[in-house]
Symmetry: C2
Subunit: 215 residues, 2 copies
Amino acid sequence: MFQVRDKRLTVLLWQRAAVPFAGRWALPGGFLADRERLGASASRHLAGQVDIPEIAHLEQLETRSDPVRDPRGRVLATAYLALVTPDARPKLPGDTAWHPVDDLPETAFDHGSIIGSARDRLRAKLSYTNIGFALAPAAFTISQLRDTYAAALGHPVSATNLQRILTRRGVIEPTNDISRPASTGGRPATVYRFAASELVVTNPFAAFRPKNAVG
Amino acid sequence: MFQVRDKRLTVLLWQRAAVPFAGRWALPGGFLADRERLGASASRHLAGQVDIPEIAHLEQLETRSDPVRDPRGRVLATAYLALVTPDARPKLPGDTAWHPVDDLPETAFDHGSIIGSARDRLRAKLSYTNIGFALAPAAFTISQLRDTYAAALGHPVSATNLQRILTRRGVIEPTNDISRPASTGGRPATVYRFAASELVVTNPFAAFRPKNAVG
DNA sequence: CCAAAAGTGTTGGGAATACACCCATGC
DNA sequence: GCATGGGTGTATTCCCAACACTTTTGG
């Protein structure tokens, strides 16, 4: 589960008490119940930390099948990417904490590489979908959105271009609200919101496609 | 398993003899063995139709977990996308056949939607990777490559632009060979090959990225 | 010479980054 | 007025589809 906190992209981990990997940090998760779908199971195992409706986006990543990924024996794991907005500030149990994805502690199992895959997937989808809706608060200024994108992408982002690209694509839209400037002054900023709250592919892959193609 | 045959993108299916879904067409597959990885299992279950080295590309798609996707009981299925080049002309058992993905027969389980997901994944990756190497023969003319791309993408492709884009990206390169024209005449064509035979992302997602960014 | 197929030159449109400049507020 | 941050206009670059034109063969 990813969240942008304090201008950094962070992932929720819990510290294992027992062997194997005692003391190391692991992704939340657990076993699949009878007659349960994988996505529902992922939500259920996150429910201790956040309310299910606070999960703004959930998507399957991949299934890990290395027979020795768990030293206790064969365990298949299907990883999910969950995103929550900064509006959700869950109360966490004492053994769980948010860690910046670019400064992870020692992780358990293959969870470090899973987090890397998840981060890569998120970064790619920020480029060609509206997935930012699941990382940004419900209402925001372009500056705040720039900080959110910069945190998730891991490089500086131009507010000027971000605004133009996302409005042209119809991903974000202005509201009638205006944000008050900070006490240091500055022009009040238009408050924006995302136009949709579910995943939409805004930039379909269209290489080699004739411009007048049907369908 | 996909192959371009006769200028159409086709998928290998076998016709079920027994219930459930008797008479309907299913993807090749089977159960995971102890101490076996999912990818190795997928290869093993295709080995009856093709030699493993003929599988030019294999990648995991997604894991289906609907508790009632198999009427006999709970079965989790991890789908893989396998690609073979036209150089491979396997001898097929009598109950298996290649079917055009745009004209599928009645399928078993959720295999119809899995094939749709696989086709979408392939089409996307043709746009931003060199994945064509796994669909094209070892050596080919631009016209032949155009037909391959058109079959996989499902729309006409310009040979002119295809050649320029793929050479500029370094995906294909000319050889010293020249193909003889058909008896109807025409200029001989340069024979090309793919520069790599494993997946390379040639067009990384880079939206919002400054041009002088480090890393 | 003509048809057919391959390949190159060129144009135009669209999208994205960069940058200069203007706007609106607090103090 | 001046600093601060927000927003718009515009230039430049790059990629790619489209199309005209040239090249090289068979008959």
